[in-house]
Each structure stands twice: as structure tokens, then as C-alpha cells.
């Protein structure tokens, strides 16, 4: 069963330290997969490998049949892969509106962008996304002044402005209040209707609410995969978590 994203026998080592060891995975179109695993399992490294921040030592990452490994970050983003970082990375000195405007990257040619002052398609998208991420009243605020939860939403909003087909979200609800988590769950389910998501998350309660599929990583390998109930019932998965992390579920 092939998917929109096929990862085959991926390896990554830093010096002699093997972080990803023969990882393979398929992601099906318009699903939300959650990636869980103890600290140091290699989840963020995997995100880095997919989005081009790191180059794999060997193995392949194929997206809609195209090989991604070896491409630059911007080329991978151009192919429709959006990324939200673990530590929210927004442009703090710019306003929320500017952050979202810049993220609309349908046109990346610098010469054409020199002549671009008003962009109707962008404005329409901006209106849609700002409502979706609940920032429509905060557009003229400098992004550095947003609360932590709002900053997370802004970055999710930025990835949505990119009109991605595959979204990589690294810990999207870290530091959010209960109400904000509810909003985010709703938001992710809405996004899932048009695109595919991979979410790295520790909070099992949240995973239970949003995930179609759960993949467990352990020591850089694909440890288990299944529906959330299967994973929670899986004795081996319980074992690798024991002592290393509290099972939030």
C-alpha cells in the first residue's frame, strides 16, 4: 500500500552516533499521522530529514513519487511540504499580517516579487487562514507580543499560507492552555480535509483526539504502527515508555 509519502530504509548518523536506523514509513493521503516515542527516539531528526534540514546518510524519502532527499529546504517546501518547528519560529519583529503575507509563497521568483505590491489571491488566502487560526483581530500586532499559544497558531497559519500538501507539525500544542488545545484539535481536523499531516506530539490525550494513525519511534527505528487503541494496548510500547516518560493517557 503506497502513500503520498514513502520513507524507505532511512539512515542518519552524526559521526558514529546512529540517530535514525533503517526507518521506513508510508503516509496515506488526507490522514493525520501522529509520531510518538520517548525523548531521543529521533522524531525531530526525522522531520529534519523529510524537510531537508538534514541530509540522510542513506535511504529515500519520496513525496508523490518525487525523491526529496538531496533537495534544498526551499525546493522541498516548493513541492508542498510545510513545516512548523518545535520552538515556534515566527518573525518576531514583523506584524502578524506580514508574517502571514510572507508565508504565501506561491511566487518565489525574486524579480517578479519586486513588482508585487498587492496580491488579491494572497489577500483572500490571508482572510481565510487568519480566521482559521483565530488571529483575525490580531493582524496588526507585532508577532513578538503574541502569547505562546497564539505564536503556535501563527506558525501553523504560516504553514497553511504556503498551501502545503503535506504538513509537518513539531509539538503544536506545547505550552497551550486547555481551551487553546481544544481549538487546535478542531483546527487540525479541519486542515486534514485538504492536506496530509504528520504531527509529533507527546500529549497522548491530544493524540487520541486527532490521530488517524499512530507511529511509534524508538531508537531511530519504526517500532509500531496502528490505530490509537492498538498502540495503547501494545505491551511493547508500554515498556519503552516506562521510566522514561509518563504515559499521559
Amino acid at each position: 500500500m503506497g502513500g503520498v509519502l514513502e520513507i524507505r530504509d532511512l539512515h542518519k548518523s552524526f559521526d558514529s552516533h546512529h540517530v535514525i536506523q533503517g526507518f521506513s514509513m508510508d503516509v496515506v493521503e488526507q490522514t493525520l499521522s501522529c509520531l510518538i516515542g520517548p525523548n531521543g527516539a529521533g522524531k525531530t531528526t526525522l522531520m529534519d530529514l523529510i524537510s531537508g534540514r538534514l541530509k540522510p546518510s542513506s535511504g529515500s524519502v519520496r513525496f508523490r513519487g518525487d525523491e526529496l532527499s538531496g533537495l534544498s529546504e526551499s525546493d522541498i517546501a516548493r513541492r508542498g511540504v510545510g513545516r512548523k518547528f518545535q520552538v515556534p519560529a515566527v518573525f518576531k519583529e514583523l506584524t502578524v499580517r506580514e508574517n502571514l503575507e510572507i508565508a504565501f509563497s506561491r511566487e518565489v521568483n525574486p524579480f517578479r516579487n519586486m513588482l508585487k505590491f498587492r496580491d488579491k489571491a494572497m489577500l483572500a488566502k490571508l482572510e481565510e487562514v487568519s480566521v482559521l487560526v483565530n488571529l483575525e483581530n490580531r493582524l496588526s500586532i507585532v508577532a513578538g507580543l503574541l502569547s505562546h499559544g497564539e505564536t503556535q497558531w501563527l506558525e501553523i497559519g504560516m504553514t497553511l499560507m504556503q498551501e502545503p500538501q503535506l504538513l509537518l507539525l513539531d509539538e503544536p500544542i506545547a505550552g497551550m492552555t486547555e481551551a487553546e488545545v481544544d481549538q487546535t484539535a478542531k483546527l487540525l481536523r479541519e486542515v486534514r480535509q485538504h492536506s496530509t499531516l504528520i504531527v509529533v506530539e507527546h500529549d497522548m490525550g491530544f493524540v487520541r483526539r486527532v490521530a488517524d494513525m499512530v507511529t511509534v519511534m524508538h531508537m531511530g527505528t519504526h517500532f509500531a504502527e496502528g490505530k490509537i487503541d492498538e498502540i495503547e494496548a501494545n505491551q511493547n510500547v508500554r515498556e519503552i515508555y516506562l521510566g522514561t516518560e509518563e504515559d499521559a493517557a
Binding site: R53, S74, A77, A89, L94, S105, E107, M114, L115
Partner: protein, 375 residues
């Protein structure tokens, strides 16, 4: 609604109009040719400060080697003007070359027989050099202080090269063309209002173009990469390409300034490649406010103006004062005088919104009565 007027686009354009109209009217009121010439030279400094503001302010690329583009432009124009006063038949060789033992015009001097070709090269060579150097550096993701140091090293390499190539550049003596630039049969007297207006027109049009560039999507992306180039990369933009372009555009403006410099001064020497001069450009932009194009221009006017007019009294200690002032600015006003203005205006707009509620209450009858009772 009560935003800072500093960020109001309409207010900014009004400031631009007032600023440039008043600069443009100077030759009408002031006819002293030497003063006009000096003010025109200030216009060149303004161009350079503006080019630094574009690269460093907008793009966050601190370029300590802007003198490369400036010097190349200046030398290109000097070569053009020099060849205008040479005769292809009777004296094809500038006199300094024959004194230095050359018998034939070097090949890279040949294109400068043509005025158009010469000016084209004076602008194109530095721009292309910056495209290549910028692409090398930015593709390798050299950034921040490392790029600043490399641009400085490149500049000092050019300085010693120009100094060293005595037969081709006349070394430390520099090139001093005998006649003013002649374009289409019209001789451009460097002390005339025409020369002033030429510089002023270039300053005006290039600044407006730079401002439009800043307001375009391109400018927006460049501002974003100043803060976090990695994030911009993940949005799908080729960061190195954008950095190279803003750097090369800035270098092009400096090359224009270099050409104008030779037109006005009729002399060029390795001093134009001097490290101190390039860093002085950065000081202008830092003092005026690197984030504001017009602020940087005013910074150049202020500093060079005070050097010329206060310099006589403080001739010995001028660098001491300049250094001290610069340190104070960097320490306390990283965004320069324009940043100070922005802060003051922000305070004003905030205090006016805070004051308005009690103001409104004072108008209510009860408050008015209380006031009367108080009196």
C-alpha cells in the same frame, strides 16, 4: 486605530516629498558654485548611506566593503573621462602609463574610448562582481560577522591591488582627468547647478525606487530573512538568491555614487577603496538609522556636514568625537536617530490615547462643575 504616525505610509511619502523638494530648490536660492559642488558631494554620501541602509537595514547584511563597488565605479568613470581627453591618433596613451613604461594601451582600457561603453562598464563590473562574490558567500551560508569580515578583507585586497598596479592605475597618485565629463557634446561642469541636479536627481530616483523595493513583496521577504533566514528557506524561498540580489542592488547604487564622485571631483585614487571610508559609510547609516533610507541619508549629511563645518575647530579631535558618538549610538540607539524619532512618536501616540478618556470626562457637566468648584 491610533497607530504610530511613523509607520503611516502616507506620512512617509509626505516626508519624502518635503525632503526632496527642499533639496532640489537649493541651487535656485544658492548660486555659489563651490558650495553647490560640496553639497552635491554630500548627495553622493547620501547615496552611499542609502545603499548601506538597503543592504544592512533591510537585509541585515553588514557590508564593510561597499568601497569595492564605489571605487570600481569611480575608477570606471575616471578611465572614461581620461580617454575622452586622449586622442586615438596622436596620444592614445595616458601620460602616467608612458612614465611607467607601458607602450600600448592595456586591453581593459580599450572599451573606455567609448563614453557610453565606459559608463556601462563602470556600473556593470561592480554589479557583476557583487553578484559573484555574494553568490559565493551566501550560497555557502556565510553570514553575520563572518560576511562583514570577508567583505572587509575583499576590500583591502582591492586596495592593495589598485595600489600595486601602478602602470595601469597610476598607483597611489590616482587618475585625474583634465577635462569634465562630456556627454553628447555637452560638457558637464562639476560646479554648475546641472551637476548638482544630476546628483540630486539620481539620489531622488534611486531612493524612491529603493523605498518601493522595500515595500514590495521582495522587500518583505528580505526583511524576514534578516530575522530568520532558516524560516524563510522553509517557506520555499531561495534565501541565497534574495541575499545576493539585495547585496548586488546595493552595490549598484554605490557604483552609481562612485561614477558621480569622479564627475564632481575629477580625481580618483586608492583612497576610494580605503577601509576607513567604507566603515564611515556604515557609521552614517547607523547614526541616521539603518532601517530608514532617508534616515541614513540624513545621517550622512549630519556627519559629513559637521566634519566640514565643525572640523576646523575640532580638527585634531574629530575622530575622537566621531568614535565616541558612534559608540554611544550603537550602545543606546541601535536604530539611530530615525529609531529615536519612532520611539518619540510612539510615546506621543500612546500618551494621546491614554489621555483621551479623562479628557472626555472633563467635558461632562459634573466634571466641569467640580473644576469650577475647585477654582
Amino acid at each position: 486605530m491610533n497607530g504610530n504616525i511613523y509607520h503611516d505610509k502616507r506620512a512617509q511619502w509626505v516626508v519624502y516629498i518635503v525632503f526632496f523638494v527642499s533639496l532640489g530648490l537649493i541651487p535656485v536660492m544658492q548660486a555659489d558654485p563651490f558650495l553647490l559642488n560640496q553639497l552635491a558631494v554630500f548627495g553622493i554620501y547620501g547615496l552611499l548611506a542609502m545603499s548601506i541602509s538597503l543592504c544592512w537595514g533591510t537585509g541585515g547584511i553588514l557590508n564593510l566593503g561597499q568601497g569595492i563597488a564605489f571605487g570600481m565605479g569611480a575608477y570606471g568613470m575616471a578611465m572614461t573621462m581620461q580617454m575622452q581627453s586622449q586622442d586615438p591618433e596622436f596620444s592614445p596613451l595616458p601620460s602616467f602609463m608612458s612614465t611607467n613604461g607601458l607602450e600600448q594601451l592595456p586591453w581593459f582600457w580599450e572599451p573606455f574610448w567609448s563614453t557610453g561603453g565606459g559608463i556601462f562598464l563602470a556600473l556593470a563590473v561592480p554589479t557583476i562582481f557583487s553578484l559573484i562574490f555574494g553568490a559565493l558567500m551566501f550560497q555557502a551560508r556565510v553570514s553575520g560577522p563572518f560576511f562583514a569580515i570577508m567583505s572587509l578583507a575583499m576590500l583591502s585586497a582591492f586596495y592593495i591591488l589598485v595600489l600595486d598596479m601602478q602602470p595601469y592605475t597610476n598607483g597611489a597618485n590616482g587618475i585625474s582627468p583634465r577635462m569634465p565629463l562630456e556627454v553628447a557634446g555637452y560638457s558637464l561642469d562639476p560646479y554648475s547647478p546641472a551637476a548638482y541636479w544630476l546628483i540630486f536627481g539620481l539620489l531622488f530616483s534611486l531612493t524612491v525606487l529603493a523605498k518601493l523595493l522595500n515595500q514590495s513583496k521582495f522587500g518583505q521577504i528580505v526583511r524576514a530573512l534578516r530575522e530568520d533566514p532558516e524560516r524563510v528557506r522553509f517557506l520555499g524561498y531561495n534565501v541565497a538568491l534574495y541575499e545576493t540580489l539585495i547585496y548586488a542592488i546595493s552595490a549598484f547604487i554605490a557604483a552609481v555614487a562612485g561614477c558621480c564622485f569622479t564627475i564632481l571631483i575629477q580625481y580618483v585614487s586608492p583612497d576610494q577603496f580605503d577601509v576607513v571610508f567604507s566603515i564611515t559609510m556604515v557609521i552614517w547609516a547607523a547614526v541616521g538609522g539603518r532601517l530608514s533610507l532617508i534616515g541614513a541619508i540624513i545621517g550622512a549629511f549630519l556627519i559629513q556636514g559637521s566634519e566640514s563645518y565643525l572640523g576646523d575647530q575640532f580638527l585634531n579631535s574629530w575622530h575622537l568625537i566621531l568614535g565616541f558618538f558612534f559608540v554611544i549610538i550603537v550602545r543606546f540607539l541601535p536604530n539611530g536617530l530615525a529609531g529615536l524619532l519612532e520611539m518619540l512618536l510612539a510615546k506621543r501616540s500612546r500618551s494621546s490615547t491614554e489621555e483621551s478618556p479623562p479628557h472626555g470626562r472633563a467635558k461632562s457637566p459634573a466634571a466641569a462643575n467640580a473644576e469650577k468648584a475647585g477654582v
